[in-house]
Symmetry: C2
């Protein structure tokens, strides 16, 4: 079976960090005889500059055909004034929606060598390893009606949160499956005390649990309390299951807690394709960081670890994924640091490419 990859570096630091992933991919081809058929294309502001929209139909079609899409980051201040439908984010959201990538996996992991970077106390975060499963193709991100309408002489901003039973069911299954391979615990978060969509969410998650995953420990928490508990004692969690909007916020909070923001990858998975592999896109959790773009300062680790997730979830190369993750851990333990990881101790930061060098050497 060939391994096909579509690489969309995007905007800001996207191309820089993706350049290091290219080197890792080459290493796997030469050193481990694990070959990838790679195509590269545009997304976000870069696509807008070239084609006048943040994702061309041709790129969308390619994304549907490959085993995995690897995305850098999208967005930048020069696109802030664009019409909503042309913003860089719409390219990303179109990929998620049309590929139907309903399960967004966001590990929030604290790298031991970096625990002191967290604004939280060391004992609260060291060793932290939770997985947030965020629903990614529905909810208020996509619900209709939406828009800015005129009503009674004034404008009204409108968005709709919608979840069907089937949408909740499938992402709940993803969370329970993952939990079985980890700590066997799922905590589902919504606002069932104020939103009917939360009531349905809670009910369906409970039903999927009772019928198919009674061996997994399930709890429910209101999303506001969940945010609090994440800040108080995040280690109480194993897998957190939540909707698109709450997941956006809670996964960012969780990521920041670890102190390892520039290090965190994500996977967005859909249904199996004909070859048995899931539709999939991988991207770092961090953004396009326009303030440091083009300076060779960016940390490529999140993007590299996103490729590691691709090895695990798309190409069934779990052992190779672990090899890559271990190489990253070693480099961090050795004290190699990009600028974002320079702490009070000082020292000289390495460049994006030097971090790539170090990881290749560790491999």
């Amino acid at each position: 079976m060939t391994n096909t990859l579509l690489i969309l570096p995007g905007d800001g630091i996207g191309p820089e960090v993706m350049a290091e992933v290219h080197r890792i991919i080459d290493w796997y081809g030469t050193k481990r005889d694990l070959k990838f058929d790679v195509t590269e294309d545009l997304v976000g502001g870069a696509a807008y500059d070239a084609h006048g929209k943040p994702l061309s139909d041709a790129t969308m079609a390619k994304a549907q055909e490959v085993d995995a899409v690897l995305l850098g980051a999208v967005g930048g201040p020069q696109y802030d004034k664009l019409d909503f439908s042309l913003k860089p984010e719409r390219g990303l959201l179109r990929l998620r929606k049309e590929m139907d990538l309903f399960a967004n996996l966001r590990p929030a992991q604290c790298f031991d060598a970096l625990a002191d970077f967290s604004s939280l106390k060391r004992d609260v975060v060291s060793g932290l390893d939770i997985m947030i499963v965020r629903e990614l193709t529905s909810g208020i991100y996509f619900g209709e009606p939406r828009g800015i309408i005129e009503e009674g002489g004034q404008r009204v901003g409108l968005n709709t949160q919608r979840y069907t039973e089937a949408e909740i069911d499938r992402v709940a299954r993803s969370a329970f499956e993952l939990a079985r391979k980890r700590g066997n615990k799922v905590c589902s978060m919504e606002k069932a005390n104020v939103m009917e969509s939360g009531i349905l969410w809670r009910e369906v998650v409970q039903k999927v649990h009772d019928e198919s995953y009674p061996d997994v420990e399930l709890s429910h928490m209101y999303a506001d309390a969940g945010g609090m508990q994440l800040c108080r004692w995040p280690k109480q969690f194993d897998v957190i299951l939540t909707d698109n909007l709450f997941g956006d916020l809670l996964s960012d909070v969780a990521a920041m807690l670890t102190g390892s923001l520039g290090m965190l990858p994500s996977a967005s998975l859909g249904a199996p394709m004909e070859n048995g592999r899931p539709k999939a896109m991988y991207e770092p959790v961090h953004g396009s960081a326009p303030d440091i773009a083009g300076q060779g300062k960016a940390n490529p680790i999140a993007c590299i670890l996103s490729f590691a997730m691709a090895l695990r979830y798309s190409f069934d190369e779990g052992a190779e994924a672990t090899r890559l993750e271990k190489a990253v851990e070693k480099v961090l333990a050795d004290g190699v640091r990009t600028a974002d990881l320079m702490g009070a101790e000082g020292g000289t930061p390495v460049s994006t490419a030097q971090m790539g060098d170090a990881i290749l050497a560790a491999l």
Copy 2:
């Protein structure tokens, strides 16, 4: 002018903490000749037990007439299976909506004596003093259509986020007014990158600023990035302005950061009444804590400080509010601690009433 107060102790620890507020109110009457005409009534589960609904029409009518409502907390596991419309929370939400309390002020303050309670590092939180202004009467909490509907043979959970220009305008003014009395900075948070209601929010906030508060420093942040920044370096903020749902989550995160959760009050303010005072309700940020209810263990400080906010915002007694706040600070500095404040150092916790004693003594 008489000062009228409606006290709704509610459920769980509500009645216990409110009992201490009663003593403080009595103290003001005898010692400072500041008299309150107090009525007490039921809300939440307590009201459901008595009347079959979480807020009777008679109580609602009373709330509309008084200068200020003081609420303890609502909710408890025995009400979990009730129909959505009968849940304790609906009583609270009805008060907010019918009194049109659009501006929810949630100070997130770190008491110096308690900084070590935070899961965050001391230097990140000590001295922290931010004010979250959360829109409280609109957004997805109240938007129609809502419910669980049948569609194509399956159930769909539905909620609607709606914001009119006028709704955004008035709460933005509250935030700018407050900022002028504080650090003169407002950061407004939404998801304008994915929600049209967020686009309108951003636009109206900017317009109110430019037209009426150009002297206040205004910035905008996506709510997920806002959650991150709250965890990373909360002291960058002065006033945070946000909508009902984001405010729910972000204010809980901010509250937990301070390590002073059992200490945080809130005020919910509406338009001025005929006597010039705003419609107002005051409540602690913490919940009903059913696990410790009835044991005399609860910390009454959040509820007492909510009364201090009432002194300031409803009764124009800012100096008396400060007196009460200083008394609380002194008691904390003296090391008086309820069970929730017992740290690793150990010691013997005081009861709810003993904490009340100490604050009265400090007054």
